[in-house]
Structure formats: structure tokens, C-alpha cells
């Protein structure tokens, strides 16, 4: 058992506040780190202590490992919570934390490193019995190898960067003639974006859903899952709306996906919270995409339907405690939806930083808001555009949609443009309401 009395939060915005809230509830002191632009940010105001770690660009502050480690040392913290983004999936950072005898709140560094390499992760998951899309076991070297493989798998296929994410280094190939050009483009994009040109190839699903399973694993091989999240409403691989449970998943599929994820965690010695992302095909089969070894933006929908506090679980697991509930204790109650409110033009998606002149947060039954914004807050242009997460919970999906519509109507953000109008449109959309949609939803919605 490790004594965790003080945690440095190596992040900003709503997730830094979210972590502080749970620390307060656990009686744990908090240290905020911040850039110069974030001196007036809410995570700085709510933390017990705050340290300015550098200039405004993320590389100088929130990605500045020496500065963050120094801040941890001068404030004498027991652990660092990395949140999501920034250093959350940096095996290097996790290793340095270990070396400095500061507990990194997340899985072991070697597990992060393994899951960060898509090819390695795929191989490991396959060995652990997780279904994966038919494809190349190793990075593709030549067009000939790719062609051979694609013929075996069957077109369409997708080329993906081994190190990547967010759509960069990704190409869909529908016939063999396109293969050579797409392979070269993907490799050079991957090299530019991730300093690693390795790509692999796998079957491409035309209308899949993005379904992810939330797991909790302690250091003693106790692993449970908290059901799935439906994350198919994405725009260019950026999630916009998430739900729990998924309208496409029944109890039996949930059990099967959960069991696969739990077994895999045990195989790789995973501990902490984590997420298995799957593609669910129209025929009900599902395939591993990647594992996120950190808290997710969309974790609140799972918290709403299970009443679990996932951050609390992360901290307890990091302290060496055993999971304090079993799979049988996990009940999915009602339906939850999250809308990401971004400081963006709701049509063109161009960022809209600036000062928030009016800000009203909705309240009432079944409404949760995670935000670091407030009236008068200036959204800086340096970071992520998400300013709030609007989350609702109700007995059924239909009631949850009605609640979200009401909450969106009550949410007032003036001074900057936000995605609120887009969310209103999606909530009113017949296809969304039917629950019958895929990751292609936004492409077709835009059109």
C-alpha cells in the first residue's frame, strides 16, 4: 500500500478540475501546474497549490516533463495524475515518474509503451484471445506484400500508422490499383506526424460502430468492466457525442465484449482504469481497435449509469488497494448521453477562442456539467477547444435525449461560438434518435 496524500495534476481544463473534485472528496491535497496563459484558470483556483511550469505552448508547459517533475519535487507530491492527452500515454513520462519515486496514476510504463505501438498492441491482443480485424501482423514493407495481404483479406482494406491516431497516416483502399499510391501517402504522413513511418493493413468495415469497454483493474489481477460506451458520433475521428449503454448492444454482447476485455487485462498485467476500443460490425461481430491506457473524455457517461467514480478508482488502485466491488456489483441503470461543447464554429468547426461574456450552466434532474469555464473566462488559443461536457442521465434513451435537448436550451455561452447548435441539430435528427447509426453518421449528416 502506497500512501497518497498529495497529487500533482499534470493537465488543465475540465479534466484537471474533475480530478481535483475527486481528490477533495478523498481528502487528498492537490497541486495544479499551469502555463502563463492559464494563471486565472479554474484548475489553478481550485487546487491547494499551483506551480507555473512554463510558457503558453504545450511543449513548454503541459508537455514539459522536466518542469512538471520539478514541480512535483518542490511540492513534495506522492503521485501524478496525467488526465487525458498531453503526457497521459507517454511511457517516457511514466518511466521518469517511477525513477523519481513518484507514483504515476496509470498502468506500468511498459504496458503504456506496448499499447502505444499499434502493431505490438494488435499482436498482444490477438495472443490474449481478443478478436482483431484480419490484417497484417507486422508493418508492411512493400506494395507487393500489401497487395498479397489485401487479396487474402479482401477489399476494402485500410492502411493505418502503427504509432498514430486521429486519422493521420490512414487510407482506405477499395481496389488493388489504388494500393501503391495510398501506401506511400500513408507512410509519409505517418512519418511526418509520428516520426515513425511504419504502417499496417487490415480489413475495412463499411458501417461499423465505435464501441468501447471501460475496465478497472487492480494490481492483484482483479479486473471488472463497467459496460460499454457508444462513440460512433465522430467528426474526423474526433468524438462529439457519447452514450452509455449503446443502443446496439444487448446484455449478451455486453457480457462477451466485457469478458474479452477483462481476460486481456489479466494477460497483460494491466492495472488502473483503461478502455478497449472496438469496431462493431453490422453482423454483430466486434474487433479490437486500440486500448487507451488512461481516463477518457467520455468517462462520465459510464459514471452516470454505474454510479462508479472512475477517477477515485484510479487513485485507489494507484495506492495499491484492491478493487472494492466485483463484476456482480456493477449495474447499468438508465441511459446517459454526453455532448462535447467545443469553442468552435458549429458549421465550419474553426476554433473560436476568446472571452466568454455570459455563461449559464443547466441544472435540475439528471444533468451534469464538467467544465473549467466561467463567466468572464477567456478561452486561450493554445489548447484543446473543448470548454465543457454536458452530460445527462434518465431512465431511457428517449428521455435522455429529451433531457439533453432541454439542457442544451438552458446552456448559455456568449462571446464565443460553440458546438451547442450542432448538438441541438443532432438531438433532433431522426437517424440519431432511432439509434441506428454508424461512425459514418457525421459524414452523412454534414452532407
Amino acid at each position: 500500500m502506497r500512501d497518497i496524500r498529495k497529487i500533482l495534476i499534470a493537465n488543465r481544463g475540465e479534466i484537471a478540475c474533475r480530478i481535483i473534485w475527486t481528490c477533495k472528496e478523498m481528502g487528498i491535497k492537490t497541486v495544479a501546474v499551469h502555463s502563463e496563459a492559464d494563471r486565472e484558470a479554474l484548475h489553478v483556483k481550485f487546487a491547494d497549490e499551483a506551480v507555473c511550469v512554463g510558457g503558453n505552448p504545450s511543449a513548454e508547459s503541459y508537455l514539459n516533463i522536466p518542469a512538471i517533475i520539478s514541480a512535483a519535487e518542490i511540492t513534495n507530491v506522492d503521485a501524478i495524475h496525467p488526465g487525458y492527452g498531453f503526457l497521459a500515454e507517454s511511457a517516457t513520462f511514466a518511466t521518469i515518474c517511477e525513477d523519481c519515486n513518484i507514483k504515476f496514476i496509470g498502468p506500468r510504463a511498459d504496458v503504456i509503451a506496448m499499447m502505444g505501438d499499434k502493431v505490438e498492441a494488435r499482436r498482444t491482443m490477438q495472443a490474449a484471445g481478443v478478436p482483431i480485424l484480419p490484417g497484417s501482423p507486422d508493418p508492411i514493407e512493400s506494395t507487393e506484400e500489401a497487395a498479397q495481404l489485401a487479396r487474402e483479406i479482401g477489399f476494402p482494406v485500410i492502411i493505418k500508422a502503427a504509432a498514430g491516431g486521429g486519422g493521420r497516416g490512414m487510407r482506405i483502399v477499395r481496389q488493388e490499383s489504388e494500393l501503391h499510391g495510398s501506401l506511400e501517402t500513408a507512410q509519409s504522413e505517418a512519418l511526418a506526424a509520428f516520426k515513425n513511418g511504419a504502417v499496417y493493413i487490415e480489413r475495412y468495415l463499411e458501417r461499423p460502430r465505435h464501441i468501447e469497454i471501460q475496465v478497472l483493474a487492480d494490481e492483484y489481477e482483479n479486473v471488472i468492466h463497467l459496460g460499454e460506451r457508444e462513440c460512433s458520433i465522430q467528426r474526423r475521428h474526433q468524438k462529439l457525442i457519447e452514450e452509455a449503454p449503446s443502443p446496439a448492444i444487448d446484455a449478451e454482447t455486453r457480457r462477451r465484449m466485457g469478458e474479452v476485455a477483462v481476460k486481456a487485462c489479466k494477460e497483460i498485467g494491466y492495472s488502473s482504469a483503461g478502455t478497449f476500443e472496438f469496431l462493431l460490425d453490422e453482423d454483430g461481430s466486434f474487433y479490437f481497435m486500440e486500448m487507451n491506457t488512461r481516463i477518457q473524455v467520455e468517462h462520465p457517461v459510464t459514471e452516470m449509469v454505474t454510479l462508479a467514480d472512475i477517477v477515485r478508482n484510479q487513485i485507489r488502485i494507484a495506492a495499491g488497494e484492491e478493487l472494492y466491488y466485483s463484476q456482480d456489483d456493477v449495474q447499468i441503470v438508465g441511459h446517459s448521453i454526453e455532448c462535447r461543447i467545443n469553442a468552435e464554429d458549429p458549421v465550419k468547426f474553426t476554433p473560436s477562442p476568446g472571452k466568454i461574456t455570459a455563461f449559464n450552466i443547466p441544472g435540475g434532474p439528471g444533468v451534469r456539467v464538467d467544465t473549467a469555464a466561467y463567466p468572464g473566462y477567456t478561452v486561450p488559443p493554445y489548447y484543446d477547444s473543448m470548454i465543457a461536457k454536458l452530460i445527462v442521465h434518465a431512465r431511457t434513451r428517449e428521455l435522455a435525449i429529451a433531457r439533453m435537448q432541454r439542457a442544451l436550451d438552458m446552456m448559455v455561452v456568449e462571446g464565443i461560438k460553440t458546438t451547442i447548435p450542432l448538438h441541438r441539430k443532432i438531438m433532433a435528427d431522426e437517424r440519431f434518435r432511432s439509434g441506428n447509426f454508424s461512425t459514418k453518421f457525421m459524414e452523412e449528416f454534414d452532407a
Partner: protein, 187 residues
């Protein structure tokens, strides 16, 4: 009762700052006899440029007052930090930095401030038994090492990067410092 406590600093800030500003401008403009439009324009630009929110001018012939609404944002922003600052750990770097990061303009105006380029622990001397690199009154050139900031077991020598005389040392030996925190005042 902490919401009352929290509001106190904000309430005090307004009048105090306003007082400072008013005095400064009276000093600057009191010799002038009258104002024409060009002068008024210049005056407005000047006051605006400096971000002042209140300006008054008066002599036997003339009295001018300019004011700008102060941002309601600050009032509306939650300020629980003041609430928690008191019970928080006394060795916290946040508390001292909050005071020293922006040295009172009146005192330190005209000083060149050497700030910490990194987060770490501030040492005035190369070792526990050694003399400080510099003291008040020391002359420095750009290459002069003025202190060490220890970060991740590394001793980072900080150079003056300016010439002049050390007139102020903002941080005590062995104290933690954050990025951008003032260390020395050079004249």
C-alpha cells in the same frame, strides 16, 4: 463564512489601485494649463494604452475625468482559492509566488527583473558553506552567475543576462520557485 472572506481581497483591490493611478496622473499633468482636442485625444490614448480604468484631472481652470468599466468577469469568477490558501501547506510555492510574481509597480518600476526560467529550488550559493554568488549591491554583467535553480537533481546556473547592480533579491535561499518567478531586481 468563507464566501465573505473570499470577496474581501477583490473588494479592497479596486479603491487601492485607483488611488495609485490617480496620484500618478496628477503628478504628470498638473503643470498643464488647459486642454485642446489634440491633447484630449492624446490623453485618452495614453490612459487607454496603459489599461487604466479611471482618470481624473482638475486644476483651477479645468477638471477632466475618464473612466472605463472594470471587467465584471473577475467579480463573477469563482474565487475559492482565497478560501483554501489559509489552511494550505505553508511551504507551498503558490502562496509566495502569488505575492512576488508581480512586484508592486511603485517600488520596482524601472528595475530589470531576472525571472526563473525553470521550476525548481533556488540557491544563492554553489554549496551550503559557500558564499552567495551575488548580494544586494553586487555589480553584474550578462555572464555573471547569480544563482542556482535545482531541478531534477541538476544544478542549473542562472546568468544575469543584463548589466547593472543587484538592488533586490525576491526569494530566500532554499525556497521553491516556479517558471517566470522574479528572482533579482537589477538597476
Amino acid at each position: 463564512m468563507s464566501e465573505q472572506t473570499a470577496s474581501a481581497p477583490a473588494a479592497e483591490e479596486g479603491p487601492k489601485n485607483e488611488g495609485n493611478r490617480r496620484r500618478k496622473h496628477q503628478r504628470r499633468h498638473s503643470h498643464e494649463a488647459s486642454l485642446n482636442m489634440d491633447e484630449l485625444r492624446e490623453l485618452a490614448e495614453l490612459v487607454n494604452e496603459h489599461g487604466f480604468t479611471d482618470f481624473e484631472f482638475e486644476n483651477k481652470n479645468i477638471r477632466v475625468r475618464l473612466s472605463k468599466a472594470t471587467t465584471p468577469a473577475y467579480v463573477a469568477a469563482p474565487q475559492p482559492m482565497a478560501v483554501q490558501a489559509a489552511p494550505a501547506a505553508p511551504a507551498a510555492p503558490a502562496a509566495p509566488s502569488a505575492e512576488t510574481a508581480t512586484p508592486a509597480a511603485s517600488e520596482d518600476e524601472g528595475l530589470h527583473i531576472i525571472t526563473s526560467p525553470i521550476v525548481g529550488t533556488f540557491y544563492r550559493a554553489p554549496g551550503p558553506d559557500k558564499d552567495p554568488y551575488v548580494s544586494e549591491g553586487s555589480k553584474v554583467s550578462p555572464e555573471t552567475v547569480v544563482c542556482i535553480v535545482e531541478a531534477m537533481k541538476l544544478m542549473n546556473e542562472i546568468q544575469a543576462e543584463t548589466s547593472g547592480e543587484v538592488v533586490k533579491i525576491f526569494v530566500e535561499n532554499g525556497q521553491p520557485v516556479e517558471y517566470g518567478q522574479p528572482l533579482f531586481g537589477i538597476k
